[in-house]
Symmetry: C2
Subunit: 290 residues, 2 copies
C-alpha cells in the first residue's frame, strides 16, 4: 500500500495503472487505497464484481468541462453515462449504495431533462433502485442575477442502491441538536431572540435545556451546508462534509469507497481518514500525478 500524507494535496498517490499501456489482470492491479489514472469505464471493467461498498461521486456535468471528456453533450449524457453505471452496478456489493451528485444545465432558457432521463435509465436499464433524493442546499453559492432565474442554491444528491436491504448506519450521522445551522431558528427567531437577543430569556433557556437533554438528532434529507472545500485549488471539488456524511451513513470501518470521477480526491482522502479503503479513478493525470 502506498503511504502518503492524506491531507497534503501536493503528495498524491502514485499512478498504479495507465490504461494506454498494456492491460493487466485484476489480481495484478493493486487498486485498493489508490487513485488510478484512466477512464473510469475501462478501469472499473478491471475490478472484480461485488467489491465496493459505496460509490460517492460527482461526475462531470454535461458540457461543463469540455477539455476532459470531450464535453459531453446534454443530449448524449445518458448514453455516455450508462456503460459506466453498468460497471458501477456490477462492482457494487448487494448491500452497497451509490450516491450521485449531479445538477441540470440550463439550455436555451430551459432546464434540460438529462438528469431526469439519467434517473430513469439507471433504474430501468441499469437496474439500480432509486431510493432517495437528498437536497444539498448550498448556503453560500455564487452570487449572480439572471433575467429569468434566481441564484441556483441547491444540487441533487441521488441515492441508488442495488437491493432494498442496503447498509445504513443512521446513528453515525446524527447531528448535535444545538447546531443552529442545521436546526434553524424557525420559531425562536420570531418569538424569542428578537425580543431579548441577550439570551437570558427564560423561554430560550428552557428550550436550550430541553435540547441539552437530547444531544443528537437525525438529519432530514435536506443537507444544509456551505459549498466550501478544503483544497481550493480545484474548481469542482467536493466539500469534505459531503463524502463524509455518506461514508459514515452507508459504510462501516474497513469498507471500500469508490469515486470513479475522483478529481482532486476529496472522497478518497475522506474515506482514508475515516478508516475506509479508498479507491479513486481519475482521467486527468494532473490530478493523479504526485
Amino acid at each position: 500500500m502506498t503511504t502518503f500524507n492524506l491531507w497534503d494535496t501536493k503528495a498524491r498517490p502514485a499512478i498504479v495503472h495507465d490504461p494506454s499501456q498494456e492491460p493487466i489482470s485484476p489480481q495484478d492491479l493493486p487498486w485498493q487505497n489508490q487513485i488510478i489514472l484512466g477512464d473510469c469505464l475501462t478501469v472499473m471493467a478491471q475490478l472484480p464484481a461485488n467489491c465496493i461498498d459505496l460509490i460517492v461521486t460527482s461526475p462531470p456535468y454535461a458540457d461543463a468541462r469540455k477539455h476532459t471528456y470531450g464535453g459531453v453533450d446534454p443530449d448524449e449524457y445518458v448514453e455516455w453515462f450508462r456503460p459506466r453505471a453498468e460497471q458501477m452496478h456490477r462492482i457494487l456489493k448487494p448491500t452497497g449504495s451509490f450516491v450521485l451528485n449531479i445538477k441540470e444545465k440550463a439550455v436555451g432558457g430551459e432546464r434540460h431533462t438529462y438528469v431526469l432521463d439519467l434517473i430513469a435509465s439507471l433504474k430501468k436499464e441499469v437496474g439500480f433502485l432509486w431510493v432517495e433524493e437528498y437536497i444539498w442546499h448550498k448556503t453560500t453559492s455564487m452570487p449572480g442575477k439572471w433575467k429569468y432565474r434566481f441564484r441556483d442554491a441547491w444540487e441533487r444528491l441521488l441515492h441508488f442502491s442495488k437491493s432494498k436491504e442496503f447498509k445504513m448506519n443512521q446513528s453515525a450521522v446524527m447531528v448535535p441538536i444545538m447546531d443552529w445551522t442545521e436546526k434553524r431558528l424557525t420559531n425562536m427567531s420570531r418569538n424569542d431572540l428578537s425580543r431579548q437577543p441577550s439570551g437570558t430569556n427564560p423561554k430560550t433557556g428552557r428550550r436550550i435545556s430541553a435540547w441539552l437533554g437530547r444531544d443528537k438528532v437525525y438529519p432530514s434529507n435536506v443537507l444544509h451546508k456551505p459549498p466550501i472545500c478544503h483544497n481550493t485549488g480545484h474548481s469542482a471539488a467536493f466539500p469534505e462534509w459531503l463524502p463524509e456524511f455518506f461514508i459514515k451513513l452507508f459504510t462501516d470501518e474497513g469498507d471500500t469507497v469508490l469515486d470513479p470521477f475522483s478529481g482532486s480526491g476529496t472522497t478518497f482522502r475522506t474515506a482514508r481518514t475515516l478508516g475506509r479503503v479508498g479507491v479513486g479513478i481519475e482521467i486527468r493525470s494532473e490530478h493523479v500525478q504526485r
Copy 2:
C-alpha cells in the same frame, strides 16, 4: 363580481357553474373572481384560450391506495394529469407561468418516478418549457423514523412557461436582510434570513416594517419556509407565502391567477388580496359551498 370577506373562510363565493348541469358558453360564464365547482378538466375546457397569466397549484399527490379519497394511483398519475395540463397550456397567456407544487411518494422502498415522468410529459407531450425547479425546504416535516430513509423535508416547486419570454418581476420578491441575525449567526446564509413571518401576526407585521429600508437581496431558488397555513381547519392547504411569492414574481396587478385544484382557496384569496383577478376551480363542493 361577487363580493365577500376574503379572509373569512366561512364566507365562500357562490357556485357559479355546476358541470353536471347543462353546459354554458364561455361568454356566459362569469369566471373571473370566482371559485367554480367542478372537475378542472371540464371547467378549464370552457375558458377561453390565452386568458390566464399565472397558474399556481398543488394538485392531489399520487396515492398508492386506489380509489380512496379519490386518490390517483402513481402509475396512472401522468395519464390523469396530462389532459388537464393541456387545458392549462391552452388557457395560459404566452407570457404566463405555471407553478406546480408536487412531491414524490415512497413505494416499495423506492422513490416513485411519477413526478419525473410528469415533468417529461409536460415538456414533451404538452409543450411546456421547464424553466426552473425551486425547492421548498420545509422547516418542519412529518415525524417518523425508518430503516432506510430520513424524514422528507422538501417538495418540488416546478416552474413551467409557455414561451421563453415570460413575465418575471424579480424585484417584487426581494427579501430584507436582518443584520441582527447575521451578527449572531455567522454561518447562516442570506437565503435563510429570507424567512418572513406569515404576516398574520400583527406583532411580526410590525417587525417586518421595522426591517424596511434596510438592504434587500434577491432570493435563491431554495425557499426555506414552514408548511403552516392560515386556516388550520383544512388539510393540505397552501401556506400563504407560497402563492404570494409566485404571484408577486410572475404577475402584475390586475393580472389573472388560476388555481385548478383550489382546495380551501388560499391561492384565490391571496390573489385577490394582492389586487389580482382570482380564479379557483374545486371539485369538492364542501370547499366551494358557502
